[in-house]
Amino acid sequence: MDIQNAVTDTSTMLNRVRSRSPGFLRARELPIAIVFLGLCLFFWQEKPDVFLRPANLAIIMRFVATFGLLAIGELLVIITGGIDLSVGSMTALTGVLVATLIMKGFGAVPPFDALLGDTSPIAILPAIIVVLFFGGLVGLWHGLFVTKLHIPPFIITLGTWLMARGAAAYITRGYPIVFPSDSAFLNLGQGKVTLGDGANALQIPNMFIVLVVAAVVVAFILNATTLGRHIYAVGGNTEAARVSGINVDRVRMFSFVASGMMGALVGILLASRLGQGTPTVGTAYELWAIAATVIGGTSLFGGEGTVLGVILGAAIMGVMQNGMVLLNVSSYLQEIVLGVVLVIAVTWDMWRRHRQT
């Protein structure tokens, strides 16, 4: 009884300390940020002449943008207690789609080919909008199966994982659709904003700016709006959310649509970056995105996770991958190291959770 009291007293005391200390000290992202900064310092000290060079930073930023964007979409689904395995294949399908539309028009996309015959190419912006809309539709498809037919998210998105990859290869007959090198579309993924002058001017890839904008928007939705609160509530206790009058189905639907659109966005950016729509692009990207969300402190059981954490997760992966390349670490070994990091992140998270309850 005394021990029980002591334990209760200590935990209330801890809670008091926690609830009164400044926000940044309580932030769950703090340890993740420390790890990230530690890694940066380590690689900077190992390779001082290369690591902070603008061109190298741009490489890291493109990596972080790619997986950060996918991970933000994944985050929204995972907070509600779901998972989206389709996003890697969706980047391939949407990349191929946007390339086909811009180069050949709707007439080259089944099933429109049978209806339309040969068509003229369509302009870049409409093509991008159509493909983003398509990504949202695929997300809606996932959401409908999950909410109305109670198909597990794992299964329905696994179906799309296969279908999207197959469709990408089918549309292109397996060949990449290459943009001419002067296509304005290429500016999107290859362009950058230069800050400052001379050799040390900071180059920020457009992709990274897209990431920052998306991160701000999604973080705002999650933190400041009722929708965001309902997303966390659905993941924390679906029944409580339901009896509180929250439209649980609509919340889950939104998360899948957002994830589908993020997949399409990354597909478009990668097609532009690579200068082609390739059916083989984005293989296993969904798993990298999930890894980034988990390293960033997101609980796969739902209810927890932040945009900042997820981007830090993607940044940790990006810096490690880049740093190991700089240090000439074998690419096989790189995957082992990243796998170890993932296991450590999850184990630490579970340990923290157990200690708390």
């Binding site: 609830s19 929708l227 966390y232 924390g236 509180s244 009058g245 929250i246």
Partner: protein, 262 residues
């Protein structure tokens, strides 16, 4: 019984789940300022009946009247709009959210809307939750504490508190004292008395007959989906307990179909 209009009245509620007839035509009425105990063995239909009132289940048959007017309750929102609130057995709180977020869950204060996006007024919600916690004398340090860090008693207090925050007329409590310590039970019963003096009608589902005896004005016993007793609580506790148990196990039945006059 006086000729007052009940706050909530159900007539002839029936509900079937597959082969199980959970409710076989139950009548229930509860009046303002009254605590109605609702007891019965497991699977007697208590929770089903309450979920019908709170809109979680739609009855196969039966009518609900609020203040004497026929009401159509097809969702929890409908019943909330009519002033019916439910405190669920398993607290129905989102443990990953803080106290303020749980108090206002599903009806967040909105500062302004941006199309479908509604921007929350977090500060006002925190202040509102703080007032509520203080008024009900609930011992919680900060409304920004996550519910997962609270004790069982604190969680139940939050669950009841969030219901009272929105001028509920009828509060349904499903086993509010089941998972609590003796001291916490006393506080919950005090809270029920306080709500009663404010004119709420309270339906208290409990297997703890002493709790029903202590705060209840009237008791309804359900058995196998039927009402078998509906009587005021008055006699001494031992006699009360014996009689109610007799109803619960089927030894007594005030509404038996054989006894009914057609």
């Amino acid at each position: 019984m006086t000729e007052r209009t009940p706050l909530v009245e159900i007539r002839n509620a029936k509900k079937r789940f597959g082969a199980v007839q959970a409710l076989r035509g139950v009548d229930l009425a509860v009046y303002s300022g009254e605590v109605l105990g609702l007891v019965g063995d497991n699977a007697a239909g208590k929770s089903t009946l309450m979920k019908v009132i709170s809109g979680a289940y739609i009855p196969d048959e039966g009518e609900i009247f609020i203040d004497g007017k026929r009401a159509h309750i097809t969702s929890p929102e409908d019943s909330r709009r009519l002033g019916i609130e439910m405190v669920y057995q398993d607290f129905a709180l989102a443990n990953n959210l803080d106290v303020a977020a749980n108090v206002f869950l599903g009806r967040e204060m909105v500062r302004w809307s941006l199309g479908p996006l509604k921007i929350m007024n977090k500060r006002a919600m925190e202040a509102g939750a703080r007032d509520l916690i203080d008024n009900l004398k609930i011992d919680i340090d900060s409304v920004r504490l996550k519910v997962e860090n609270l004790s069982g008693g604190q969680r139940q207090a939050v669950a009841i508190g969030r219901v009272t925050a929105f001028n509920a007329k009828v509060i349904i409590m499903d086993e509010p004292t089941a998972a609590l310590s003796v001291a916490a039970i006393g506080k919950v019963l005090d809270l029920i008395r306080e709500l009663k003096t404010q004119g709420c009608a309270i339906i208290l589902i409990s297997h703890r007959l002493e709790d029903v005896y202590e705060v209840g004005d009237r008791i309804i016993v359900l058995r196998q989906g039927r009402k078998v007793a509906d009587r005021p609580i008055g006699e001494d506790i031992h006699q009360f307990r014996e009689e109610i148990v007799a109803y619960m196990v089927g030894a007594k039945d005030d509404f038996s179909p054989e006894a009914a006059t057609v």
